[in-house]
Amino acid sequence: MAEKVRFIIERQDGPNDKPYNQEFDVDYRPGLNVVAALMEIQKNPVTVDGKRVAPVTWECNCLEKVCGACMMVINGRARQACCALVDEIKKPIHLAPARTFPVIRDLLIDRSVMFESLKKIQGWVELDGSWDVKDAPIQNPYTAQTAYEISHCMTCGCCLEACPNVGPQSDFIGPAPTVFSIFTRSENLTRPNVLTRLWKRAALPVAATVKIASKFAPNLSSLQLTSRS
């Protein structure tokens, strides 16, 4: 018999239903990650008690840790499921939806609030048009490198799930969108009204925000507070 890995999954049938746990065993194989295990459950959705149930619902796309879709709470910590290697986490493995966001079903959550925040921040360049205009200005490579780091945020919501200041008690839009608005896309494009708009809604020291983002956001780990903080 192949070695089994036990998963305890917090399920919920619909947005207004009560959560309940179900347990599944998945055959171990080297390199197995949480998404691959969920895919195995899809092929044979039978619980450890031998009950045939509906397959577990979750969201994923790229499986390379660049799209941000498969964020969920694994053993109590919000992270991407595709790079959560079974070898490296404690068993049995507990999966739960990130409840900072409304749950649609099982591990599937509604993160539209994050995209609404991006609408409010209006951090885009006010482009004259997508036609030929001119060259973009030459840019300090150091600034470009910083912008590149910030621009890795994949709007997965990990940092909102982890941040104690995000929740019904406050208007704070969360670390990720805040960081995004502090460092606009390049030096020459800084628009102060972005910040003004933001700080009316959310008062949290910038440094603390960056700290949370760099600790919990998967692609922002090398983020440092730089010149314009």
Binding site: G31, P55, K65, G68, A69, D135, Y148, N219
Partner: protein, 603 residues
Amino acid sequence: MAKDMSKKKIAIVGGGISGLLATIKVCELGGEVDLFSYCPVKRSHSLCAQGGINACMDTKGEHDSIYEHFDDTVYGGDFLADQIAVKGMVEAAPKLIKMFDRMGVPFTRTSEGVLDLRNFGGQKHKRTCFAGSTTGQQILYALDEQVRRWEVKGSVHKFEFWEFIRIIKNREGICRGLVAQNMNTMEIRAFRADTVILATGGPGQVFGRCTASTICNGSAVSAVYQQGAEIANPEFIQIHPTAIPGSDKNRLMSEACRGEGGRVWVYKDGKPWYFLEEMYPAYGNLVPRDVASRAIYKVCVHMGLGINGENRVYLDLSHIDSGYLERKLGGILEMYSEFVGQDPRKVPMEIFPSVHYSMGGIWVDRVHNTNIPGLMASGECDYQYHGANRLGANSLLSAAYSGTVSGPEAMKWAKTGNKGSELSDADLEAARREVQNEYDKILTMNGSENAHKLHHEMGDLMYKYVAIERDNNGLDACLVELKKLLKRWNDIGITDHSPVANQEAMFVRQLRNMILYAMAITKGARMRDESRGAHAKIVLENGKQKHDKDGELVFMGRDDERFMKITIVNYDPKTEEPIVTYRDFDHSLIKPRARNYAVAKKE
């Protein structure tokens, strides 16, 4: 209705780079866009493009020219790309880069602060602009912000987590709308549109494990194929030489690794053998993808020299300065460490070829109209620009360029096209009802097959018969097996009957579309009796694969006389089978010549 009815409504399906650029163009021209996507558009598969985007910027003192980019693309595509279309793309490329730069894409800079360029396969000049090793992500994010700007202005209505099901034609056969389903509430709705653009990406999931995202299933393309859209060149599937093999997916290891000096090798007689450098002295590790993939396959499968006898070879960066690697390739090296548990800065990576990109797709003319009036296709889901093999870093370019062409053309059709009769409310309801009935029927399926297991089997079949090396015996067998799968699809049993986010029922519907598209790929490959680009066919002798006197497999040559033509595949609704014909195309600018990467390219 208070709404401005004179505004033209364009429905765009897919929010990758092509769909988003088309959206921006439509908005700039005063149109309104309904934008449909499986996911928030910011999570589209374009973000998996790592290495870069080609454009002749000529900032490295190498005397690069647009003509050289043109010739590399046509030559790399083994002379099967429409040359007028390719010319348009390479001429626009530098302008597109400047536009992305203005949008704030954080391209990697030189010490002076101008855009840096790197080498890529099949090109002798540095021509690839890049943002570290996440170029696609950075371009997609910049476009996502620009589209959000139009969304706030009210010109874009996003339908995220909606699945495109089919187009709606009026009685004259002109596309006037579409039916889509909400993936969370399962609501099915019909939409009117003056023009529909599909920008739904590639069909990688037809092969099961591939470098594509789980959403790249080709289902939308197959749906319109079944409604009369022609498919062109589906047999040309790019196998990327360097991917990390995995059971859930094969993760891409960018061609930028080879571009930045990575070397491919295996042990032979106890010593490292840099086989690409030996086989192809002129290009070495920078041969195009089809050439590199076949060489790796040969070394592993036919010569038995893979690492520990397995289908793996080394991709080695360990001789390169780690600071340089961090700056140029940091993101993907971290990805390798994370998924494999080894540091590629210190030990060579283990890689093997994987299905990666479809050169073929929906047939379009040079301004991206399909053969169905009112329906357009743009990006990887169309067949334009790459011929029989795509050069690395030309995909971001073709995705972007096609969007800048299809968007304005969609507006032109909306304003001046002969669109025929309007869809009545009854027409919309009839189309919706049809899709609803089909969906309800899926929910009642109670057979013995599991859709995900069938999908796995289909992937195995396609890899076995329609991947790096093909022969007519295998392709015939594959068609028979695919037909059996199509039959077994009817015997699927559904375990999920939920009215909320029923992913299983949606997958069952997608799977049928995937099987029919797999048949189009296989049939296209079966009928093309030559080798060209990514399509390599072994000669059969007395029903067996032919070997020469040295025991090497004998492949068919390129046959310009018979096959310098576009494969056109039509769906036969009676038999559900693909019908293959051939069509001429424009190759008037560069005369075809033999493609040989062992020597420097001659013009």
